[in-house]
Symmetry: C2
Subunit: 349 residues, 2 copies
DNA sequence: CTGAAAGCGCTTACAG
DNA sequence: CTGAAAGCGCTTACAG
């Protein structure tokens, strides 16, 4: 017979039905060896019979612990961040934590609201992939003083209020972009542009620096006109292709801000009668799934976002663990060049 | 001066510092008009000073309510489901709920574990986008009898245990596929295959039925060889292109299971020397962001996953509301044909 | 307008 | 091996 929907079964119900105390049921729940085997069996059978569901929130309250970690994502429709979120959730789940999700949709204002709501659940820690215009002061205000924070992927804007400490996990943007540029240089290219991204985002700045490192090491003077901005999306990158050739008519290659931009540029090249990987070489950044199956496949830097998510979870759980590390040294994850055809057929040596 | 990390500030701390009772602080918290304005101001200032953070979990326990909804997603790296998740989170946030996230990675076993963990947080409801091999019996066992459930997108396998009730939100798979097929028929195509998807998934079965409806209405006899299976991914679809032309050498068009399959087929067509949208027409399903910017742009059916997420949230919150609807009639969201070039240049009338 | 007391569902010393 | 009692941080009648 189905039970009434009205009231949930509690530990007290089970204890009464078995004729034991609540303490005993609690011990059964936690697998204590103190309980007599026969008693344990009776209690467990009764739990099953009544459809008892453990209330972890109540247990957490009593124990003054938390079994959740909050994850705030700037853009879940970007596969890079979706993979990151999946990795976080996977690693948290393995350690018995539940993920509280929040999406900021690249708005610092929504981010603030979402953080304010999540922090009331008293998560053990917060993992934040910040919106483009997010500031350290705004995050600090929304968070209050006590919740450990890990910032992923890009730096918070502004200067941090004194005493506001957090972990950071980022990608090797500079050395990655340098790798990509060196790869194109090694194939004989000399007029290589840096294409896409917003110059005021920290990741774009860092990638441009790596590009400049490689050019300088090759003895090539940088013309600032060789760095063309775009929104970090396929659509805008496609539209900005004309700006690229207006600025540098004889460019033969582009280091793109990321894969979305690179795929947009491929489309734009086609509209301009240029064949990517044949007439013009290009590289991306991220190695999103589409990179491997585009026409031609895209040479890019693999950032392994799912693994980064797992790493982020591990860092915050280490902070939370009793006697956990309290160093807040930034962690920079290396990236790996994946050579594909978009950069391979075009040889201008 | 920064406060000690050791102990969180509670309502009791604030009350003591102000020389009022905890009840009064609680009333301030909840914006009660009973509290004297001067008292309220003193209490609020003290909260700010001490960095008090409301503990919603404790309040929920006392009030016997829940402020969370669990969301279990089969594949977050698929933009369709990622958008759905973003929509769910957005709509829940607007209503003051927090999303508990879980990912099953298309494994019914992980789904069961994830559900078991989430249900212990006592969410107000659960929204489940099931793994391919998920069964009603498995979900029922993991859930216990009391948590309202909404299943999204595909039917649970097996037969539901008696008394196991849940809501369902799905797409108009059959009528959508019929629309796509009729669109190709109207452009003169006669040898139209149905390409991709696993025949044993409910959505593939339904889309095939819509395809067959259209062919039958046009007086075209269906050859079972015209339905070619593939994994619902770009990569496998690309690989199965050879099977398509082996089975139906003179096919001129394909209704594809979804956009990923259609984009894979485009790639496969290129390898076979066929130009999509010129030599061969095709349609997708979902309208993922890539569909609009592929070469050529893909004619497809728009399912608006973000809006579906919002809709799912609304349905479960209506169930949960006091005196909420208890009808569990399935909701089928319509889809809309978006005509683009992949089906437009190829005219075989 | 404010306070004392009980209770949400659990855990944890402490007795026995 | 089991039970009585106190307490986690909040809310809610009930007095005053």
């Amino acid at each position: 017979m189905p039970l009434h929907r009205s009231r949930r079964v509690t530990l007290t119900d089970v204890a009464q039905a078995c004729g034991v105390s609540r303490a005993t049921v609690s011990l059964v729940l936690r697998g204590s060896p103190l309980v007599h085997a026969e008693t344990r069996a009776r209690v467990e059978a009764e739990m099953l019979r009544q459809g008892y569901v453990y209330n972890r929130a109540a247990a957490n309250l009593r124990q003054r612990v938390s079994s959740t970690v909050a994850l705030v994502i700037n853009d879940l429709s970007n596969p890079f961040f979706a993979e990151f979120a999946a990795g976080v959730d996977e690693a948290l789940g393995e350690r018995g934590y539940v993920t509280l999700l929040g999406c900021s949709n690249e708005s610092a204002e929504r981010e603030r609201i979402v953080l304010g709501s999540l922090v009331q659940q008293h998560p053990a820690a917060i993992i934040l992939s910040p919106a483009e215009d997010s500031t350290a002061a705004g995050v600090a205000a929304a968070l209050g003083p006590r919740t450990p924070l890990l910032v992923f992927n890009r730096a918070l804007g502004g200067t941090a209020p004194t005493g506001f400490q957090f972990d950071f996990l980022g990608l090797a943007n500079r050395s990655g972009a340098r790798l990509a540029t060196e790869h194109l240089l090694a194939r004989g290219h000399r007029r290589i542009v840096f294409f896409g991204g917003h110059a005021d985002s920290s990741s774009c700045r860092e990638r441009r620096l790596g590009y400049q490192d490689a050019l300088a090491a090759a003895g090539i003077a940088l013309d600032p006109a060789w760095m063309i901005e775009s929104a970090p999306t396929r659509l805008d990158a496609c539209a900005r292709t004309a700006a690229l050739f207006a600025a540098v008519p004889d460019a033969t290659a582009a280091v793109c801000y990321n894969d979305a931009v690179a795929l947009g540029l491929m489309l734009g090249l086609a509209h301009h009668g240029r064949r990517p990987g044949v007439d013009f070489a290009l590289t991306g950044f991220d190695d999103i799934p589409e990179a491997a199956v585009s026409m031609p496949p895209l040479t890019t830097l693999c950032a392994d976002p799912r693994e980064r998510g797992r790493q982020a979870a591990q860092i915050v759980l280490a902070q939370v663990a009793p006697g956990g590390a309290v160093s807040h040294a930034p962690v920079i994850a290396p990236v790996r060049l994946v050579e594909r055809e978009s950069s391979c057929h075009a040889d201008f040596r």
